[in-house]
């Protein structure tokens, strides 16, 4: 049970969905931000962006967000959940491109603190082919999940344990997007 009365059945609206319904006036710009960052027409592939979201949510130990975005990333990646789990457990040996690895290292720094992002981390990403836009988007995705993870856990929301829930949510998000998920 959440710390406050969200006015919904939390098993039906778990994780961030309860708070988004509770306060639509803040929910709307948050969903708009998620839609643009994770699904909008940016140069990083959608799967890579979901992977960044899952990776940061894992570092923040946010069960709901990490399970959800891992499922979304897995559904979009040819290599599926095994790759998501490899990235989350051992980024340095996971079979991802050098560019994506460098961007994930930036995301990991952002998760600790914005001040942990060094010129060296940025330079490495650039050397591996990342553009200024891709570096920007990686930083903002990582920062945004530092917000969403705290929102979800700070309110003590319910996180389903059945992986089927997240697979179904992934199908819905991939077909209709974030704006229509609550």
């Amino acid at each position: 049970m959440a710390h406050i009365d969200l006015g919904v059945d939390e098993t039906e609206f778990p994780g961030v969905r309860g708070p988004l319904k509770y306060r639509p006036v803040t929910g709307k710009p948050m969903l708009e931000l998620a839609e643009t960052l994770l699904r909008g027409p940016l140069s990083l592939p959608t799967a890579d962006r979901e992977l960044i979201a899952a990776y940061v949510s894992g570092l923040n130990e946010c069960t709901y967000c990490c399970s959800a975005h891992s499922a979304f990333a897995a559904a979009l990646l040819d290599e599926g959940m095994p790759l998501v789990e490899q990235v989350r457990t051992d980024l340095d040996s996971a079979p991802v491109s050098a560019k994506l690895r460098a961007l994930l290292h930036i995301a990991g720094a952002v998760q600790r603190s914005g001040r942990s992002v060094t010129p060296e981390l940025v330079k490495t990403a650039r050397t591996e082919g990342a553009t200024d836009e891709e570096i920007h988007d990686t930083i903002l995705i990582a920062a945004a999940f530092c917000m969403v993870n705290r929102y979800v856990d700070g309110l003590g929301t319910f996180a389903p344990t059945d992986p089927k829930f997240y697979d179904e949510t992934a199908r819905r998000v991939i077909s209709v997007g974030y704006r229509n998920t609550v």
Binding site: H3, I4, D5, P19, Y22, R23, V25, T26, K28, P29, M30, E32, L33, T36, L37, G40, N60, E61, C62, I106, A109, V110, S113, G114, R115, V117, P119, V122, D132, E133, I135, H136, D137, I139, L140, A142, A143, A144, C146, M147, V148, N149, R150, Y151, V152, D153, G154, L155, G156
Partner: protein
Amino acid sequence: MLLGQARSAGSPSGFTLERSGSIHYVQSSTRITIDFDIEESDPIAHIDLGVNETEFPGIRGPLRFRPETGGPLLELVEVLLRRPHPLSPGERELIAAYVSGRNECTYCCAAHSAYAAAQLDEGMALVDQVRADPDHAPISTKLRALLRIAAAVQVSGREVTTELVEAARTKGATDLEIHDTVLIAAAFCMFNRYVDGLGTLPAGDPGWYAQASEHIARSGYRQVV
């Protein structure tokens, strides 16, 4: 300006522009030397934000760089900090300043401290007291309890305990006030990381923040960039 001078003197090409040094070239058999020392710095941030960062410090560069994410970010901050609410705008800005201070984000902390001070009767003296020692600052017991929740959120969402929430509720906080405190604190954990993760430049002149606070009090956040 330097390039303009050099070009008007004969369109020399093939030199590399550095921050300071000399340019030599020959025109009509005369060797010409221009010494230069560029005061105005190159982009400071980790990426080229496409703006003069002294004119658009902190978050303003990134908001202009990517307007498609800047729009919802400004909408969120406008709703969280300025929309009519049982917590006054000054109190909500104080939560933002407090969390930004804990995240050591120079730009956000200076900006929201100034915005809080402008909207609180006790001004910057109270903001400084809250940031230094919230347990003894002269604020309501409700706001103190909410700041404790914000401090927990700054560390991790998982740090917010039933006890912290109960304490706030005992001091009169409603579900809505608890919700918005958690989300303001969480949102500034995003903004602080966005601003510092990109290595943006804070405003150099403390007067800039006071000026910005007048503008925001008048026109709100949606119009800042």
